[in-house]
């Protein structure tokens, strides 16, 4: 008799725990890890200027300039420009590194403007794929980082052997490792993504990325970038990396009755074929990341989204292939899809194509009440 009573009390207690606010650290961190999280937030919000290394090309002067709303680590309204060139004959994707790709920075320091008369990096000419890239939230990405490669590979079904019309496959980085971060799932680890972002987004070199981006493939003019390399110490970078790694995914809002119905409908019409409700992390030196369930609503695989959404290739990802966007925290966004073209969740669903066409058509066939319930579910995440 005592057992069920204890279970009931435990259930009531957990129901009374208020949902964590976005921007809070993972539960279960040690005091030392929480201290690093707080110190890392300072690094994440640190505003760089040319004298401290900003640029000479950049997209933002701090991490938090883009990942800003409603908290550091949340989504933002900036849309970047990325480029690559795809050769359909060979399947080779050229990220146009020698012409400034794949990220084309949208701002230049005054010194670079004076030296070259440009206020941003020029977009390479010729036959290229150009893409807009909106700013996603990065809450809970430490948990995604801790998902084993084997778990991602086990979800792949590149030849659609189960006949469900969905054929996810992993992307691989240029050294052959399995990718997972970025809209094309190119980058294998969160640390690499963060190190790359410092230099690509802010022009801030680190010990892990000690060389600046080129100016459209050309070297930086003498005297334009006065700060010595690396412009960020290894410890400052490690703190920023820990801040991102230890950010908790936002707790879903308590689901309304409609949202609960919508969750069932989301699965019934096939959305969970790609937006897999949960992944499991593997072993990790950080206990708070070890063997956890992350309700991310992604399979971290590439899927063909159809010609209407196609833009650029990256790694093995074809122009029409995108990694399934994690939906944890999607309620925080005000624009949707990889380039922010959708201004509502409903519009985003209706713009799905390719492998998602079947689920989209089922969504279109829902009653108004069912649609509203499904959208209420998404707004609870």
């Amino acid at each position: 008799m005592r057992g069920p009573a204890i279970v009931c009390v435990a259930a009531l207690a957990s129901a009374c725990i208020p949902p964590r606010e976005p921007g809070t650290p993972l539960s279960g961190l040690t005091q030392a890890q929480r201290t690093r999280f707080e110190a890392g937030r300072v690094e994440f919000q640190h505003v760089f200027v040319p004298e401290t290394g900003l640029g000479p090309l950049f997209n933002a002067d701090s991490c938090a300039e883009c990942h800003e709303d409603p908290v550091a680590g949340g989504p933002g309204d900036e849309v970047e420009v990325h480029v690559a060139s795809f050769d359909p004959a060979t399947g080779f994707c050229d990220p146009l590194v020698e012409r400034g790709g794949p990220v084309i920075q949208q701002a230049a320091t005054p010194a670079l403007q004076s030296a070259l008369g440009i206020d941003r990096e020029p977009i390479p000419s010729g036959v290229i794929g150009t893409a807009g890239r909106s700013t996603p939230d990065i809450l809970g990405f430490g948990l995604l980082d801790a998902v084993p490669d084997a778990a991602i590979l086990a979800l792949a079904d590149p030849d659609d052997r189960n006949g469900d019309g969905i054929s996810g496959r992993p992307n691989h980085f240029f050294d052959g490792r399995v990718g997972r971060f970025g809209r094309k799932a190119l980058v294998p680890s969160l640390r690499e993504f963060n190190a790359g972002a410092f230099v690509v987004e802010q022009g801030i070199t680190t010990p892990e990325t000690p060389t600046e981006e080129s100016i459209g493939g050309q070297p930086i003019p003498a005297g334009v970038d006065p700060a010595a390399e690396p412009e960020l110490t290894g410890e400052a970078f490690a703190l920023a990396d820990d801040f991102v790694r230890f950010l908790a995914p936002p707790d879903p809002r308590p689901p309304s009755r409609a949202a609960r119905q919508g969750r069932s409908t989301f699965a019934r019409i096939g959305c969970t074929g790609c937006h897999l409700p949960a992944l499991k992390t593997g072993n990790s030196p950080v206990k708070a990341l070890r063997y956890r369930t992350v309700r991310a609503y992604t399979d971290l695989l590439l899927h063909d989204m159809g010609p209407e959404l196609a833009d650029m290739c990256l790694g093995n990802a074809l122009p029409s292939e995108f990694r399934t966007e994690p939906l944890m925290g999607v309620r925080l966004s005000t624009s949707f899809l990889h380039d922010g073209r959708a201004k509502s969740l409903e519009e985003a669903v209706l713009l799905h194509g390719g492998e998602a066409s079947r689920a989209k058509h089922r969504f279109e066939a829902l009653t108004t009440k069912e649609r509203e319930a499904l959208l209420a579910f998404l707004r609870s995440l």
Partner: protein, 110 residues
């Protein structure tokens, strides 16, 4: 005076041994995707990087460099754009002078 001379000699021998060990150190390794192959210049361009901060490295292919494609001995003409390769190299006589190049299995385009 003699003791000092001996100490200096020992130090010089030690330094020479360290320098000799350093130059004979194991070659370094790098893995990346072949962007281009220039047989006339004996160079391979390799895409590497961290995150989205990508870089292209120019690798010098010295005479006698061992090249393996899918486990089979080959030459520079066996290398193709898009292949993932592991390269062992030394920074002499040029930076990034390859001693061996071998393809790495990786999932390619559909």
């Amino acid at each position: 005076m003699r003791k000092r001379a001996h100490a200096a000699l020992r130090a010089a021998i030690g330094l020479a041994a360290i320098l000799s060990l350093a130059s004979a150190a194991e070659p370094e390794k790098i893995t990346g995707t072949v962007k281009s192959v220039d047989t006339s210049e004996s160079q391979v361009s390799l895409i590497t990087g961290r995150g989205h901060a990508l870089r292209v490295m120019v690798i010098h292919v010295k005479p006698g460099c061992r090249i393996e494609v899918d486990g089979v001995a080959g030459s520079m003409t066996s290398l193709r754009r898009g292949q993932v390769v592991e390269i062992t190299y030394r920074n002499e006589p040029h930076p990034y002078t390859a001693e061996s190049i071998a393809t790495v299995p990786s999932a390619g385009p559909k």
